[in-house]
Symmetry: C2
DNA sequence: CCAAAAGTGTTGAAGTTACACCCATGC
DNA sequence: GCATGGGTGTAACTTCAACACTTTTGG
């Protein structure tokens, strides 16, 4: 009765990823459009995810899902926690869908949720040949998702909010060169509240993790902004040693 | 090939609980002593935990483990996250132990970790008939545990630290009536650093969640302290509406 | 010259830190 | 009367919140 467990899919454990992107205006989430299923409902949409293999650890599984979908590696990833009520598969469309993609569609599955931050420019599904019916959707427009994915999304948003008050992980969402206004808008999007411009700038600059590139935006119909990049060394230092004051 | 899934143990998913108690001096953790296994090592000790049933959700499973061990219900419980590398069962003693307690000792298991806070007086294993080789061990004395339980313990300590800076959950660790000094020591134990006495008192009192019982300690060989209880209504209010300023 | 976003300082209020002495009790 | 922990206030400093105008560019 020995089971061979190497390289087999584990029927009971999956990972799901909430992949955030920022279009310089608002937060977006990368979701899978399941098409024909549940035609009119916004729960056509699901988070990318899959069962884990028995020989990979949870983080690896999440990285794998991310890479299989987007081709991206070296992504910021953070576990949110485990989800999975026995009755999480209560929607009809979800049952049908599982029949089509799972070897054991009736199995009890618990899923380990992650959130990840990517530079949106690095993955534009519509322009890309990778595209497997994945699409960016504004995070605040999502009102319903497959299974318990909406709960997971809420958890991810909350987690991200908490985390960004403690660590400057927001840089993972921005292009290499960015303006303070873009950073400002990013924080407002994540925290879902307005932040005073002057106070924000003061605070972020005092962190001393920005390098001024002494370069300006071009072609904008207003006073061009200075461009900054993010100072990795300083960041690592902060991550290691923690910091004292960084709430918004 | 339909599987009957109701009420079966799921071979791949377990929950483990880090149960904290406070003896008015320091933080303790309730661990299982596996006795004969690995005689000299401190990894004789393990966290209480078990496989989940297919018809219960994760929180329920954690409550069940807690109740089966201590007889306690209505316990403060919080999920930490999911753990479980494929190679988490690398210690010989752990393999042997699993053979003795699991139907499928070779199965890949991921475990969902929880931390919980109990009033230590409510469960004294040495005095209790419930005792199933469970014992309280000072949290900081633990250097090794079965499987990846030591990692889980570290995660739990970190989580508790974060959480107590945001919500006054510490009350779950104290008797109904307590002194400000006891509360003070509790915060110092959890945060693992000294806190100024006067500043601590000011801050905690400003939260306005304590009710002064106008009652004094008796039989202590020094000026008796005032006793306080914890104001549940106010607490709920804070939990709901969040609060502004509560870092230590 | 107009529209649009960039950039910049100050002030009052609140919060944080650091610190030392007297008090009430049991023995 | 002494040992033990209980209980209290203030001053210097830092942080936070609120607020309005000038600048530079493209069209």
């Amino acid at each position: 009765m020995e089971k061979k467990i190497v390289s087999e899919l584990n029927p009971n454990v999956s990972v799901d990823c909430v992949i955030f992107g920022f279009d310089l205006e608002k937060l977006n989430v990368l979701v899978i459009d399941r098409g024909e299923i549940a035609v009119e409902s916004s729960s056509r949409l699901a988070l990318p995810g899959n069962l884990i293999y028995n020989n990979e650890n949870l983080d690896q599984a999440a990285y794998r899902v991310l890479e299989e979908l987007t081709g991206l590696t070296n992504i910021y990833l953070e576990q949110i926690g485990a989800f999975g009520d026995p009755n999480r598969i209560c929607k009809e469309a979800d049952k049908v869908w599982l029949q089509s993609i799972r070897a054991e569609p009736e199995a009890r599955v618990i899923t380990v949720a992650y959130f990840s931050l990517v530079k949106m420019e690095d993955y534009m599904p519509h322009a890309s040949s990778f595209a497997k019916n994945a699409e960016w959707v504004p995070a605040n427009d999502i009102t319903d998702l497959a299974f318990d994915h909406f709960d997971i999304l809420q958890g991810a948003k909350f987690n991200l909010k908490q985390k960004i008050k403690i660590q400057p992980i927001g840089f993972n969402l921005l292009p290499e060169k960015f303006t303070l206004s873009q950073l400002h808008k990013l924080y407002e999007s994540i925290l879902d509240k307005p932040l005073d411009k002057r106070n924000f700038r003061r605070k972020i600059q005092k962190l001393d993790i920005l390098t001024n590139l002494n370069e300006k935006q071009a072609g904008v119909p207003h006073k061009p902004s200075e461009l900054y990049k993010f100072n990795e060394a300083k960041y690592q230092d902060i991550i290691q040693n923690g910091y004292n004051n960084f709430g918004f």
